[in-house]
């Protein structure tokens, strides 16, 4: 416990030095050194807990009204600490390289200080078990993330994105506060352990608290439909901030969800169904948005909504397993979900770092203007490709391992036969759709950015980025490969956290350990077999070439002799067919002035943008809500579709009020 305190103080000192030192280079080094020391200290106590289990508890007396703070490090908190702090350190190293061009003109100390503060908030959130202290850590992370986002505050769009994020995250905080207040009113305490005693018994207050918690943590982790702040914030922030927010900071929401599940112990089945459907909707909508974005970082932001959805499906299966007393489901669901959290952090940071490297080299993140960067940025291209394949859950990379576990949970024979099984098979089909669309989106993003020829002559590429940017990418890429090729490493990391959830099952149920997961062990050999076969084919191909140099010619243009780079397939056209089918979710704004007449004098232009349907509707309702009602009201008696819908809404509300009044 002393070590945790020392680590926190080191981080604070690092933040202070980053603000106080006179030179940006020294500020950066101070932050990196402080974080390295703190990471070492935290890992030295978190890793034993994570690998061998156990509980570290401590109580710190504090002044009124907090009175005492319970410090509790269990394998779940240790799991999140074990990768959050090292990844924040890597992010700080990346920030050093990324912000270097501004070192002469701007004070980068604020960024370095805030990165250290973010690391401090992880130590607080993942170890403290008092609602007050938890909220403090939560709020530190939120405000620090906001300040990190608005680094380029002179740009009005970025200020708006930051403000949007700040408002959203505080709406989430209200839900969290409401949930804690409900629990405090029932228990008279702010301690998680005393909440637990109340949460173990089914009651109406428990259900309300559960829904409030899921909403709040859903907002934090950007589940659909609470994701509207995310694409804006992620495209506005510097690359290291986008990476850390998406990969690491917002995983606190998922941690909160897991912590609440641990406190609840014996959930009701509806909680599991609620989480599964909520997450599945998140995954599907999130992935659909990734297909149509022009802005590379916005695209990656939406894929966070998709991936937290996949992890959430895993947690939902685990909850169902707890409700049905099925140890196999508990193991598969939580192992898949928790491992996916780590995997997502690995490949999402990698992708954001690569996108940041593209921005550093070209000052553009618009897919329609990029192209052919693989020749100029070979390292970045390789890292982005690796991350893109991993995020599409393709073998032999790490995303596949965790998604396979989630699939195994969804399709498990332990699910009760009949409708539950049918629903979960349906969810597996949705997950397959998500995988297919995600592959499309990543092929599009990588293909447009790095392959073909440059689309815009005005974009100048400065050449490969510095080592400060490449080293963090290389570390993340190594993680993606290791967890993919040696799944045992990942499973070893999640084993103790999963045991915590299995321990919630009643004593009669057999403790299975990771037994159900071990069934999937052959998948480890799959990756090696794939690499071996591929290696063999490459050798065979080299033998067939007989050392002759390959002939080079132009791309076959189907007989057309004067192609230009502008004629390449564009991002909008690549996704147009899918976007056409899902127009309701993916509305496109189209601005155009077409050339007129057979010999047009003025050049025309077409500009399409995919806008967020939820945000569009939200602004519509907020901005012109009464207008909407006035416009809709006369249509009710005339149009059968509208009147039927209105009648249905009234009916649902009436029935809900009746039933709600009848229960209590």
């Amino acid at each position: 416990m002393i070590l945790l305190a020392v680590a926190s103080i080191t981080l604070l000192a690092g933040a202070g030095l980053a603000l106080g030192l006179r030179d940006n280079v020294h500020r950066g080094w101070a932050a990196i050194a402080a974080q390295a020391i703190a990471t070492g200290l935290v890992l030295s106590i978190a890793l034993p807990v994570l690998l061998h289990g156990g509980d570290l508890r401590h109580r710190v007396a504090w002044s009124y009204p907090v009175e005492s703070i319970a410090v509790h490090l269990d394998p779940l908190g240790a799991f999140f600490l074990a990768w959050s702090l090292p990844m924040t350190l890597l992010g700080t190293i990346y920030a050093f390289g990324y912000l270097r061009p501004y070192f002469r003109t701007r004070n980068a100390g604020v960024q370095f200080a805030l990165l250290s503060v973010i690391a401090l908030s992880f130590v607080l959130v993942y170890t403290l078990e008092s609602a007050f202290a938890f909220l403090l850590g939560w709020e530190i992370a939120a405000v620090a993330a906001w300040l990190l986002v608005v680094w380029d505050y002179r740009n009005q769009k970025i200020r708006f994105a930051g403000f949007n994020y700040l408002v959203s995250t505080h709406i989430g905080l209200f839900f969290l506060l409401a949930a804690f207040m409900v629990l405090h009113s029932r228990t008279g305490s702010m301690d998680f352990q005393s909440f637990s005693a109340f949460l173990q018994q089914p009651s109406r207050a428990r259900s309300i608290a559960f829904v409030l918690f899921v909403t709040s943590f859903g907002l934090k982790s950007a589940f659909f439909p609470f994701h509207t702040w995310l694409p804006r914030a992620h495209s506005a922030a510097p690359a290291h901030v986008s990476a850390l927010m998406s990969g690491v900071i917002h995983k606190a929401g998922l941690f909160g969800l897991l912590r609440i599940i641990l406190l609840i112990g014996q959930p009701e089945p509806w909680m599991g169904w609620y989480l599964v459907s909520f997450s599945a909707a998140s995954a599907v909508v999130g992935v659909l948005y990734t297909t149509a974005q022009r802005d590379l970082k916005r695209l990656l932001g939406y894929s966070s909504t998709e991936n937290v959805g996949i992890a959430g499906i895993g947690f939902g299966i685990g909850l169902l397993g707890l409700a049905w007393h099925e140890p196999a489901l508990v193991a598969l669901g939580f192992a898949g979900g928790i491992l996916h959290v780590l995997n997502h952090a690995l490949f999402k940071c990698l992708l954001f770092y690569a996108a940041g490297a593209v921005y550093r080299a070209t000052h553009v993140v618009d897919l329609e203007r990029l192209g052919g960067l693989a020749r100029r940025l070979p390292w970045t291209a390789g890292f982005f490709l690796l991350g893109g394949l991993a995020i599409s859950a393709l073998p032999p990379l790490n995303g596949f391992v965790s998604e396979l576990l989630v699939y195994a949970g969804l399709l498990s024979p332990a699910v009760p036969a009949g409708m539950p099984r049918a629903f979960l098979v349906g969810a597996a089909a949705l997950l397959a759709f998500v995988g297919g669309v995600s592959a499309l989106a990543m092929a599009r993003a990588f293909g447009l950015t790095f392959l073909g020829s440059p689309r815009d002559a005005g974009v100048h590429c400065e050449g490969e980025v510095s080592r400060w940017l490449r080293v963090p990418m290389a570390v993340h890429a190594a993680g993606v490969l290791v967890l993919g090729l040696v799944p045992a490493v990942g499973l070893g990391l999640v084993e103790q956290p999963v045991r915590l959830f299995q321990a919630l099952l009643p004593a009669a149920a057999p403790i299975a350990g990771l037994g159900p997961v071990q069934v999937l062990a052959p998948v480890a050999r799959l990756g090696l077999a794939l690499l071996a076969v591929l290696g063999g084919l490459v050798l065979l191909r080299a033998a067939l070439a007989r050392g002759l140099p390959a002939k080079r010619h132009v791309t076959w243009g189907c007989g057309y002799g004067a192609p230009t780079p502008r004629m390449q397939y564009t991002g909008a056209s690549f996704s147009s067919q899918l976007a056409g089918v899902f127009y309701a979710v993916l509305p496109h704004l189209r601005r155009e002035r077409l050339p007129e007449g057979p010999f047009p004098e003025k050049a025309g232009h077409v500009d399409t943008h995919c806008v967020d349907a939820v945000e569009k509707r939200m602004f519509e309702v907020i901005g012109e809500g009464d207008d909407l009602v006035t416009r809709l009201a006369p249509r009710v008696p005339v149009e059968p579709g509208v009147s039927l819908g209105a009648g249905l809404v009234v009916l649902v509300v009436a029935v809900w009020l009746l039933l709600g009044g009848g229960v209590r």
Binding site: A408, P413, V425, A432, P522, Y569, S576
Partner: protein, 307 residues
Amino acid sequence: MLLWLAHVAALLVLPFLTVGVVNRTKSRWAGRKGPRLFQSLSDCLRLLRKQPVYSATTTGIFRAGPLVLLATTLVSAAMMPVLGAIAPVSFPYDFVAVAYLWGLGRIAVVLSALDTGSSFEGMGASREATYAAFVEPALFLALGTLAAATGHGALADLVGLGARGPAQAAITLACAATLFVVLQVETSRGPVDDPTTHLELTMIHEVMILDHSGPELAAIQWASALKTTLCAALVASILNPLHPADGLLLAAAANVALTLLVAVLVGFVESLVARLRLRAIPAYVSVATVSALVALLVTAWWQGNAR
């Protein structure tokens, strides 16, 4: 070991034979004599001896694509029930691995198409990726339903549902129908795609590989022949009334015969049905999805009653 040998032998012969049977069926319908049954093998061997030409726009990804496609298809072949309800490599939920391996192969070819910077190949890549995304839920619904109905997760076990009762027969038929459509989409067969067309604007798979030549083209052609066989064998093993327990050789022979029968059926459809408009393909795929959903609901009803 014997199983491995038989599996490998079947996979060496069957792919080219399946393609030959499809082509022979089509030529018979058209009143032609048609090419030799193993013509596609000769084509592949001829391509292997040729020196390829690469576009100057391309990078290493262009050359790696076909090899990755072939490697993924070869590895997935080890898990497929080519000789009845049995496969040399089998573990729970291996069909997820198969589907994602195919996904990796697909993305490799899509990327190598985008690597050329050609708008035609970009168009083909976009179509391939889009229809693959549409067909994926149908594939998982069908296989997931079979897994739910049999209680087994491994591909080689879940195909052995059979038709012992009316419910099982309905599930088997509906899933086989779904997987037949999956075959047509995954392997670019009519009425979804026309493998013989020469108009770039209408093609899906063929337009993606316009720039590939020589050994790379051979790799792609072998991989797609292999994939056709694997899909056909999957449909065949679901419909196969014989189980390896009834006699290994007999079941394997029945499965090979059924695979070729599926190939004949593919040829029939391609000869008799006009190619669909691209816009109608999602609707056609949704027929497969609905068919699998029916199978899923029948399974839920049947198991719910049995409980």
